[in-house]
């Protein structure tokens, strides 16, 4: 290998260097974001919950309104229970939830809302009738609600939102008793 005919000893041009670093950093940032999303839901305890739409199932509206936003419920304590008709542990807590609802429904201070996660309407209505659920229920259309509240995508999960719209408590898995539900709700005071 002779020196004399050695071709161009060019270093990497500036534009190429900039592009390489931008792409690299961008890729790492993207993946870092993915990591973060994989480990936390968007809603964090102590922070206000981002707003979302609720389009209720027929027959399970809130006070007759077929559609509303979460923010419409400000001033009340909101208990959001995420369930699915194909979820066996959900069936364990369903009677307790309905019983607890009976205790709170007249107070007009605490609202129970069921969010049906990735389900068929037929399965949903079957489940709701089976457990004689009477509190408002809405399907999680486009999985929007669960991507805000429930990145883990597990059911059942229950979220406690206080009167100012701040997330106060999360329960993962089924409640064991009505008493536990009451203790859970007490955290919002």
């Amino acid at each position: 290998m002779t020196e004399t005919n050695a071709p161009q000893k060019r270093s990497v041009p500036l534009w190429a260097q900039v592009t390489i670093w931008v792409v690299l950093v961008g890729l790492l940032a993207l993946v870092g974001f993915g990591l973060k999303r994989a480990s936390n839901p968007l809603a964090e305890i102590g922070k206000p919950v981002p707003d979302f739409d609720l389009v209720y199932y027929e027959g399970y509206e809130y006070n007759g309104t077929p559609q509303m936003k979460l923010s419409d419920l400000q001033g009340k304590i909101v208990v959001i229970n995420i369930w699915a008709s194909w979820c066996k542990p959900c069936e364990q807590e369903a009677p307790d939830l309905e019983e607890a609802w009976q205790l709170y429904k007249d107070s007009d201070d605490v609202v129970f809302i069921g969010v049906d996660y990735v389900d068929t309407p037929e399965g949903a209505f079957g489940y709701l009738k089976k457990f004689a659920i009477s509190f408002p229920n809405a399907p999680d259309l486009q999985s929007n609600i669960s991507s805000i509240l429930n990145r883990q995508m597990g059911v059942p999960e229950t979220y406690l939102i206080d009167r100012e719209g701040v997330l106060r408590q999360i329960k993962i898995g089924p409640f064991a008793s009505v008493a536990e539900i009451q203790a859970f709700i007490a955290n919002a005071e």
């Binding site: 290998m1 002779t2 005919n5 194909w86 389900d119 068929t120 037929e122 399965g123």
Partner: protein, 171 residues
């Protein structure tokens, strides 16, 4: 007997009756088919959708209870006469764009389809540019320097090259 059959009105009545019976039969068999879509028809649509809950599993092979319900839902919708596109649209409206096996070609998603061909063409362009530069004639020194290097490392190929020379000569 013959006289009765020759009666025009009677013949018309008989034909009308026959026609009515046949139509009714056709209608009922057609409806009977409508109410029972086969597993294959369900699978044909389920194959193109992904399970909304499971990770990256097509709907026709997903073993969960939820997927079973969704396949039954597809069967029901087929029985109601819905088309494939309507069923897909329903799933997208309810569970999001991720149930489709490819992103819908709207807005941001165009990037998914356009970036690879653009990059590949850019690569081809760069390669051809490089070719043009490399096939420029160079000085004689460089040429012989390379031959030596090539010769030294292709010892095992010598034999084959000579074989090939022989082949060429044979022909």
């Amino acid at each position: 007997m013959k006289k009765i059959l020759e009666s025009k009105t009677l013949r018309i009545t008989l034909y009308a009756l026959l026609f009515a019976v046949l139509t009714f039969a056709a209608y009922t068999t057609a409806s009977a088919q409508d109410t029972a879509p086969t597993d294959d028809e369900v699978n044909a649509i389920a194959k193109q959708l992904f399970c909304p809950v499971c990770e990256n599993t097509p709907l026709d092979v997903c073993p969960t209870e939820a997927c079973r319900q969704w396949r039954e839902l597809i069967r029901q919708m087929l029985a109601e006469g819905k088309t494939e596109q309507e069923i897909k649209d329903y799933f997208v409206a309810n569970y999001g764009a991720r149930v489709l096996s490819e992103p819908p070609r709207t807005g941001f998603n165009w990037l998914v389809y356009l970036v690879p061909p653009v990059l590949i063409l850019a690569g081809a362009f760069a390669l051809f540019n490089a070719f043009r530069e490399w096939t420029k004639p160079k000085s004689a020194e460089a040429g012989s320097g390379q031959d030596e290097e090539a010769g030294a490392s292709s010892d095992e190929d010598d034999y084959i090259q000579r074989l090939e020379e022989e082949l060429k000569n044979r022909k």
